[in-house]
Amino acid sequence: MPLLLPPDLRARLRALRLRPRLASGMSGIGQHASRSRGAGLEFAQYRAYEPGDELRQVDWKLYARSDRFFVRESERESPITVWLLLDTTASAGQTDRVDPGRSRLDHMRLLAACVVELALQQGDRFGLLAIDGEGLQLVPAGHGARQRDRVYLQLQALRARGGWPAAERLRPLWERVRPGDLLLCIGDGFDETGVVLLEQLARARRDVVLLQVLTADERDFPFDAGHRFRDPETGEEVRGDGAAIRSDYLQRFAEARTALQSRLQAGGIASATSWLDQPLDQPLQALFGRGITA
């Protein structure tokens, strides 16, 4: 299935901006606020003249009004690096009952394509990290249309398999994702070790966002007959009559989601939930939309 975003979705994406919550200070011209102030396009502040400042930075109109020397400072804009971290363990292969042709992984691919689109339109660097049972698959960060094609190619090649790998196999992730980078994790968020990893990354000053992709079956639990529920990662099985265990499951699932949310908040991780049967840009709006300055 080609990664084609419909035009109306593209139009809505155009209004979004990837905004890191932690200002980074890499050099270069870009859209993101940086800690380093200096010459730039966006006004930041006036400050008192100090010896050594360039004379052309002095705001002469202000001097005329206040009879003091002020220096006009701008925020320097710098590009950030956006990392897409896809959780393609076996649970990503789950499909909805109503739409068996579209798995969680397909949805994750499209979400990643949306983010790539956003990064591309703001000139940010972006890279891809995919975690599956084998370990880590990686497209190093870069920018431009060719980088997008590389990422798309890797996205197409992804298969849902295995469980969460051991920590050693994820070491390249620490090497690649630098402090200050925006790490957008797209996955189901069911793996405890995965959440722990995100918390560690957030503590290590990476700007971590979790885009939790959940199926409608997980939300509604529409099973009414007896079923053998099987965990695709562990192979564990639970037999149950859908109607009988439904309410209990829904309650426990909602509790778990609330718990995860508060845990992420405590860890400084922004999060949004994307349902398989809802538009792709809905969680992105919640995360990067106008009016919400994270």
Binding site: S91, A225, R230, D231, I245
Partner: protein, 373 residues
């Protein structure tokens, strides 16, 4: 409706098979991939009540088996067939078109084996009409009026008077009788050459009395009479085996020997003493006249009626087969009620079974198509 073989219904016991299949085949726990398994708490309700999978398919299968069992039980319809109010039969050889123009046009049939409708070409009319009428009377349900067109004179009569269970509108139509039976030639006697002269004299007189013909030349010692001739054994000895074999194959003969035990007495003479016996021998028959064959000494041989009686014994006169149609009009008789032949439903049942089988196959295979593995 009745069953000709009710034990066939025992085949319904085969119902056990699909019932068991549909019970055993149920697998209530279809596997589902579910990543959020840890929030599921296993709670299987004990659901032990009997539940059949796929009950429409089960129903069709049960119906199919029931139909098969019914087929084995051979159901038949015995009730009265929906009968027309009136039948009209026309003897073959008559002009049906001319007759029909005068009458109601429905239910006209030929009076021929099978009673074909009048629209078909006229069948050959060599079957006996009274016999056909009796058959038709037995087949038709009571209450159906019968109109019969027969030729006058009526051919094909048999020994019994025509008696039917219903009133019949008898419509003889004059029609020339087609065949007049030829009078058979009188039998020709063939005597052996060793017969006494007195016997030959009497036999010659007998032959002349029948047909104004002389007696055929006597046979030599060992020769047998020709086929069609009447052999004469003029001595009192029993028949030799060659003659017995000849009679056995359909010959008829006159013997002077004493009649054996099983012989039937045919004639007595004027004094009342037994004179002539007959015995069937294979396909032929032997007449025994154990007197001295000498017309001068045996009074019985001089009887005027003896040649005619002997001729009747050798050639029984054919019963009349042609009669005046009005005289032969059927009489009303209270015959036992006709049992209409049971009509078996096998072809229709086979059709139902085939349809059910096709439906079952379609349902079974389409159910599998709906659920890809």
């Amino acid at each position: 409706m009745s069953l000709l073989f009710p034990l066939g219904l025992l085949a319904v016991a085969a119902w056990l098979l699909p019932l068991l299949i549909h019970l055993a085949r149920r697998h209530p726990y279809t596997p589902v991939d579910f990543a959020a398994l840890r929030w599921l708490r296993a709670r299987i309700r004990p659901r032990q009540r009997i539940r059949f999978d796929d009950w429409p398919l089960l129903l069709v299968r049960l119906l199919l088996l029931a139909a098969l069992a019914l087929l084995l039980a051979r159901p038949a319809l015995t009730g009265p067939e929906p009968a027309p109010a009136a039948w009209t039969v026309v003897a073959p050889g008559m002009d049906a078109a001319a007759l029909r123009s005068t009458e109601d046009l429905r239910n006209w049939h030929w009076l021929a084996p099978g009673f074909p409708p009048i629209g078909q070409p006229a069948p050959p009319g060599d079957a006996s009409l009274p016999s056909l009428l009796r058959e038709l009377d037995a087949q038709l349900p009571t209450g159906t009026a019968l109109t019969v067109y027969v030729p006058d004179p009526l051919p094909g009569l048999d020994g019994a008077r025509l008696q039917l269970s219903r009133p019949v509108q008898w419509r003889p139509q004059p029609l020339a009788a087609r065949t007049s039976q030829a009078v058979p030639a009188p039998p020709r006697l063939r005597v052996r050459s060793d017969a006494p002269a007195a016997a030959q004299h009497w036999l010659t007189a007998l032959q002349r009395a029948w047909g104004a013909q002389p007696l055929a030349a006597p046979l030599s010692a060992d020769a047998l009479p020709e086929r069609g001739e009447t052999g004469v054994w003029s001595s009192a000895d029993p028949l030799p085996t060659t003659w017995q074999a000849w009679v056995d194959q359909g010959g008829s003969m006159l013997s002077r020997a004493a009649p054996p035990a099983g012989a039937r007495l045919l004639l007595r003479d004027a004094q009342g003493a037994p004179l002539l016996w007959e015995q069937r021998l294979g396909r032929g028959h032997v007449l025994y006249l154990p007197r001295e064959w000498d017309a001068g000494r045996t009074l019985a041989l001089r009887d005027d009626h003896l040649p005619r009686q002997l001729l009747q014994a050798l050639q029984p006169p054919a019963s009349p087969r042609l009669g005046d149609a009005l005289d032969q009009a059927p009489q009303r008789a209270s015959l036992p009620p006709a049992v209409p032949p049971a009509r078996e439903l096998a072809p229709w049942l086979m059709l139902v079974i085939l349809l059910l089988f096709a439906l079952e196959r379609w349902m079974a295979s389409s159910a599998r198509r709906r659920r890809p593995a």
